[in-house]
Point group: C2
Chain length 330, copies 2
């Protein structure tokens, strides 16, 4: 595989109008980066072929270790991601990266920052890097991200890292998707850390305090430790706090060790299977809900969504009764 | 009404086990803050009474101006919110505030910061302040926030401000919910601004650069202006950029003026009704999807969700075929 950043550029379609999914899947399984890119584009674009893509990939997926990496903007996620990829590569593992950007629902574009920083790995055939945006429809990433993970998994990635920006429901989503969720903090974020803490204390399996050489880093570690000490985790897991200076590589090996230790714990406790089952469950639900929403939009007459909305605005109908009509029309 | 922050504390239920919704709605409409609190708690807790709450409130709602306020952590949202509330109060408008915290899905708690900063308004009978958390289920806020807005609207708030933290899908959700979406930035956020910009350029009706007295503020304004100049808005609206120093009140009147100007434009263009119709549509859909999800969980046999998930994990079934079985079982 060769690294490619192609989220923004549509695939050219010379001659044939529709891709041959069987062929793409076969090519992706040999590690062909263009085939991987094409499959992820199909998934991201919600193309009609997504169904066949999932059918053909399913038997070949399930081996990859899935790592979630999240944290507020400014903590140094991209730099850490790059360092982490380097460390995994040194261990001979093939790495897929999905940089999921829920903050960019309309543009469909990739984060420029990632592109620049990840260029260290641009010529490494064992790394596949891809940015994904949500294409504007809420729940779009919940639907497409697990499918993109499946593409990378079936294409032979030993490790798939899913990176999300920001504080918010994206973090919850990533925690559902990953075997191990890494939550990053950094000193000097002001309210950022304060706000971030509220949401992250339950989702991190491993915590990273990056920029550990800066003023305030010890304070962040101390606060985090004290807050984490209050919670209980399954199977006695105590989320470690790893201090890193990702820009110079300090602590990155410790981070890899902590991730692998968590994975080993999950595996021994039989919890890896449980996590994956929950992940599949969420994915099935997301697909079913998407299908149902599409049907909603097609209804006419008394279940016409615009007409129902009009009645709710005017106060003639409450939204529950309106929803009842929609559900009944199924 | 009296300001109250009661998101964390469950309402005591002396004698009667279930609240009398009719009575609560009647009390809320006279401005009784305890009744308002109680109704929002019912909505937030997804209590069985939510249906009756919506039915009884619907005829009385629809008059409030709904303002969304969003921005990354650290831009000074809470301070600005407090200043904005003060400005609206000086104009004699009754204000409801919903501080929606999607970063806190598990704790169900409120942001301490908001509580502290909003205490300026704690004794003002014309202000109702409430924090909401998502109670852990994805889509929970999409479902409960519009209903909480309806409570405040029916209770006589002239203005309802919905504040969300962070970068991400929450911003998109708020843009759908509000008549006018105010997006805040501040200098010195580092990657924060970079990351934030990608997602916010389409959703803001009014932009605020807070901490305008700090180094780099002009740079932020300049960049923002240049990025905004590329986009097209409906009805020729050009989103203004308001510079504020919310901590000392500078620019807050300009912000109020910009918000009201946007509202007036919407109203003149007939777009206010359109926005509200779309909002109702989203709400109906969210309720319907929630109802359908609940049904999914009850299926057994070939549509048993756990069994389907197991088959997907083992590669025996792809998630689309699994979702088909779920949909078919409806």
């Amino acid at each position: 595989m060769t690294s490619a950043e192609d989220a923004g550029a549509p695939e050219p379609a010379p001659r044939r109008r529709r891709p041959q999914v069987a062929e793409l899947v076969a090519d992706a399984r040999t590690g062909d980066p263009r085939a991987v890119a094409r499959l992820i584009s199909l998934v991201e674009d919600e193309a009609p072929e997504v169904r066949e893509v999932a059918e053909r990939l399913s038997p070949h997926a399930g081996a990859a270790q899935v790592i979630g990496l999240t944290g507020a903007p400014g903590v140094g996620k991209s730099t850490s991601l790059s360092a982490l990829v380097g460390a995994f590569r040194q261990m001979g593992r093939r790495v897929g990266v999905l940089a999921v950007d829920p903050s960019s629902p309309f543009s469909g574009g990739a984060l420029l920052g990632d592109r620049v920083r990840m260029q260290d790995h641009a010529t490494d055939g064992g790394v596949y890097i891809r940015s994904m945006a949500s294409r504007g429809h809420l729940g779009g990433l919940a639907w497409s991200t697990p499918q993109a993970v499946r593409v990378l998994d079936a294409a032979g990635c030993d490790v798939v890292i899913v990176e999300t920006v920001g504080v918010g429901q994206s973090e919850v989503a990533i925690a559902g998707l990953a075997d191990t969720t890494v939550v990053m903090l950094a000193p000097g974020m002001g309210d950022g850390i304060q706000a971030a803490k509220a949401g992250i204390l339950e989702i991190g399996d491993v915590y990273v305090v990056n920029k550990a050489d800066r003023d305030g880093a010890h304070q962040v570690v101390r606060e985090l430790r004290s807050m984490l000490s209050l919670g209980q985790r399954e199977h006695g897991w105590r989320p470690p706090i790893v201090e890193t200076v990702a820009s110079v590589g300090t602590g990155v090996d410790d981070l890899v060790a902590a991730i692998d230790k968590h994975q080993a714990m999950l595996s021994e406790a039989g919890e890896l299977a449980g996590k994956r089952r929950r992940r599949a469950r969420d994915e099935i639900e997301a697909i079913a809900v998407t299908a149902l929403r599409e049907r909603f939009a097609d209804f006419h007459g008394s279940a016409d969504l615009d007409g129902l909305a009009e009645s709710v605005v005017s106060g003639d109908l409450d939204p529950y009764s309106a929803a009842d009509r929609l559900v009944a029309a199924l």
